[in-house]
């Protein structure tokens, strides 16, 4: 394939929080798709692994005006600062070049076999999207090994202990889709030909995935919605995961604001 400069494709995700029901299927689908390990005590949230993590938020108002909402949080696949400033927060700090921003897809990869486990990237990531393997997920006395390793997918390599892992936008699915397209003599993928496991699994169809560089793709249209925002946008991490919410309080919780920094969205329409 001939190499071009800049992002050929810029894969991104739009999560509609009005549609999201907080069911957690995305988390389960992600774990099942990507051979994520499970521990007997998954309530140890500081050490458990969830590439796609669900955050429960509420509007902080007393009964009966309380409302809850959910933020599904995959890796944001932060991008370069368009102004030539900095790189994704994690990519620039990795000592062993074990995580890279793919210029052709915009996907932030993680090379498990090269990661030395220094965890600097974890410290640099404000989204807590990076997970360290504190345990051997599979050694013979682990509950996860009791037959459940039979459902491991050969498309994603299981991780050894002591390395960082994170959401890869189901990169293997991109490979799968590309292989199919090339076999059919196509260079470019059709919309939805490559989607992540969470996108596919969401029963409420709250997640849309596609190429942000392609104006015809649904994601490109959705990010023009007035109610679209990103997490911690002010830090200029350039996430490629967008959210939509018609609720002011939800949008406000996506970033830190000083009183004069809040710009209310007028109207709830596109």
């Amino acid at each position: 394939m001939e190499k071009r400069e800049g992002h050929d494709n810029k894969y991104g995700m739009v999560i509609d929080l009005d549609k999201c029901t907080g069911c957690g299927t995305c988390m389960v689908a992600c774990a099942a798709e990507n051979n994520v390990t499970v521990r007997a005590d998954e309530s140890d949230k500081e050490r458990s692994i969830a590439w796609m993590q669900l955050y429960k938020i509420d509007n902080g108002r007393p009964f009966p005006d309380t409302e809850v909402c959910y933020f599904p949080r995959p890796c944001m696949h932060c991008d370069e600062d368009g102004r030539g400033g900095h790189h994704s927060p994690c990519v620039s700090v990795c000592v062993a070049t074990a995580t890279e921003l793919d210029p052709h897809t915009g996907i932030v990869s993680q090379i498990y076999a090269r990661c030395i486990g220094c965890r600097y990237c974890q410290a640099a990531c404000p989204y807590h999207a990076r997970y360290f393997n504190w345990w051997d997920g599979y050694s013979s006395f682990k509950p996860f090994s009791k037959g459940m390793e039979r459902s491991l997918s050969p498309e994603v390599s299981p991780r050894m202990r002591g390395v960082i892992e994170k959401c890869t936008f189901c990169h293997h699915r991109l490979m799968r889709a590309k292989t199919k397209a090339y076999a059919e003599n196509r260079r470019d993928l059709r919309e939805y030909e490559y989607i992540t496991a969470c996108t596919e699994a969401c029963p409420a169809r709250a997640i849309t995935f596609g190429d942000l560089n392609n104006p015809d793709h649904m994601v490109s249209r959705l990010i023009k919605n007035k109610n679209t925002f990103r997490l911690l946008e002010k830090l200029n991490t350039q996430p490629k995961v967008y959210y939509i919410s018609s609720k002011e309080w939800v949008r406000k919780l996506a970033d830190n604001y000083l009183p004069d920094q809040i710009k209310p969205v007028s109207g709830n329409d596109i």
Binding site: K19, V28, E42, K56, F63, S151, P154, P203
Partner: protein
Amino acid sequence: MGSDKKKFTELLSVNRRNFIKFAIGGAVGTGLSPLPWKLIDDTAIFTQNLPWVPVPETGKFTKVRSHCTLCPGACGIEVRKVGDRAVKIEGRTDHPVNPGGLCPLGMGGLQLLYNENIRCKSPLKRVGSRSTGEFEPLSWDEALRALTHQILELRSNGKAGSIVAIDGYNSGSTVSLMIKRFMKAIGSNNYIRLPSMEGETAAVSKLMYGSDTPVAYDLENSDFILSFGCGLLEGWGAPGRLLNTWGLWRSAENRENATIYQVEPRASNTASKADKWIPARPGTETALALGIANVIIRENLYNKTYVENCTAGFFEHEAEGIKQRGFRDIIVENYNPDRVSEITGIGPDMIISTARAFAGAKTPIAICGKGKGTLNGDINEFMAVHALNALTGNINRPGGVLIGARPPLSELPAPEVDEIASESLKKPGLTLGNAVLKEYSSQTSAIAESILKGDGQEVDTLLVFSSNPAFTIPDGGDFYQSLAKIPFIVSFSPYLDETAMMADLILPDHTYLEKIDDMECPSLQYSFYGMTQPAVAPLYDTRNTGDVIIRLAEMIGGTTANSFPFKTLEEAIKSRVQGLFDCKEGSGKYNPSDTPSKFISAGTGVTPDFKDFKGMWKQLKNGGFWYNPLSHIKNNADIFNAPESKFEFMSSRLKSLIEASTAKPASDTLEEPLYMPHFRGSEKSDEGYPLMMIPYEMINLSSGWLPNPPYLNKSLFDSQLKGDDSFVEINPETALAYKLKEGDKIQVTSAKGSASVRVHLFDGAMPGVVFMPMGFGHMAYDDFSFGKGCNPNRLMGANIDPLSGQPAWWYTPVKISKAI
């Protein structure tokens, strides 16, 4: 020569100088050689290929289509396989119920297949004492012989009626029919289904609509949904359908979003995502529904044409020569917003505005069945809610309440009954002492009642199918205790669940991914029939329970064997499917642009697409489905033309049931007949138990028979489960009154039992109520479930629903104290 020799010996002698030279030289030499670098590299390569980190075997990628039978929701699944291994379950995009998505439980299903710690790998017989889990494997022949012997002996002693079967298979499935038929053939009336809202839905359909098939709701075409505690996003009905529909309702492109009002005491996902949350006091939903009815009637917002033509009991009327007040007058008199506001805690304005919004909508539906609907419902509340539907007249039309129709499957030939059996069948089955609605409600609790209270009804042998009542019955542990007193328990569970641990004999079924099975989905607004096929070959020495029953019948012989004129379950299913083909209706294909709800709103049926039976069978057998979108839309005249088949605000059928009942529920002080929806409030004084405990269900926590697949544990918050402690949600205000902080350990005590939990302060919890998650507290299974949290069922069952006699699990008075 001499000096050379000297040099040589000098070189060899280990003096200090030489040693140092040698050491330095050696170090430099080794450093320059590839050896250390190679070693460093090799060790790094070793860390990249640790022998215990599995390398998943690759192979040919295939997909197997099937259905998920973990709940009655009938989602289509596609199992992705590599070689012989199933590696992922995905939602089927070519399926009318869940076009693409799945619920988390369905998504985590492979861990219910492959987790060998929870599976029962061969027939087992108990060797240790009960619940210790000491079993010994035995062959299928031995196991079947043991059970046959037991049944034959009981039959010959005239005690066939003491054989009790609890059936947790999806209703309408062929296996379920076969269990029922088997029980009849051997001569027992004690075929018991587990409690679920299906029972009360069937009851309300019969009592008010006069329909033998349960009502269903065309939610997709509705523009206003008034939900009385239904966990629409927590797994209610068919979760795949509901979640998908929710996404459609909330999509930015959809201009005809449905408005959803949720009545619930807790800011659940449904309540929060709804347009309005109406936090009525728990147990007062009936009053709220009737208060809304009051406003609708007083403000003349009801559908007069419908009420006049298609309903009975609304106006003053004469019954048996006595003048009777109608529903209208009683409601107007007793349920004015001010009084209802006092009962429910909902302001009169809110009641009035809700009533106006509801009656003003084009296609409003009021729905009921709390939480996931996997437990029994409050029949009185169901009746009140359906009275609202009748007031708007949004019945039997798109976007309304539809009168269900079962898929037109062929009937199996009637079972044959021999003399012993027919003698035995004369004895009544187990019934809850004070149940009026025994026909409709689950009588599972009657087992515990008869054993623990010793009212003479005998249970000698208990057969448990596809269920785990020891964990799921909300009776404060009565059922679990009674198990210890049952002489012989046989479990057909593929898992070593709590009930199986108490069994004497386990005849393990396949899991749902290993077998052929079929299902209807009565909660859908159209008739549906789907089949599963084995996604993988059985992993262990297990057998399909359908086949096991046929084999058992064969071994028992005589009329029992004759009642099963098929060799396999598959044969039985095939004979039923014939009816689907013969009806010449319905389709087995789904086109995303033509959803069933579009067919319903358009009023056009699908084009039947089955050409011959062979082709149809092949398609179904490969995990196919049959559905008929217009099956529930009927001619109004057909339903409501005869006087006895009008919608009854005051149920004459219930009236006669009450009159026939030996144990009449206590009469009321209000002038309201018991056979119309009414609110009576709590009968018992709750002295000593100032708070209320309400169990709540989550879609990402399996609360029924199945253990939570480990992947789902990831999605639980640590304010729900932390270590081995589960949390109850309480309002900060209540916490303050009890001086409790986030995470404090407390003891929750009801009249039935006590549990130790932690406290999570949540503004969305109604003050004075303790919300306990349902699905924790397993005392079986493996590290992922065992001993994690507390099972609220152990505290419930102090209150009994007066009509069904079943535990009123939705309301438990409790007290709390800080654990020391």
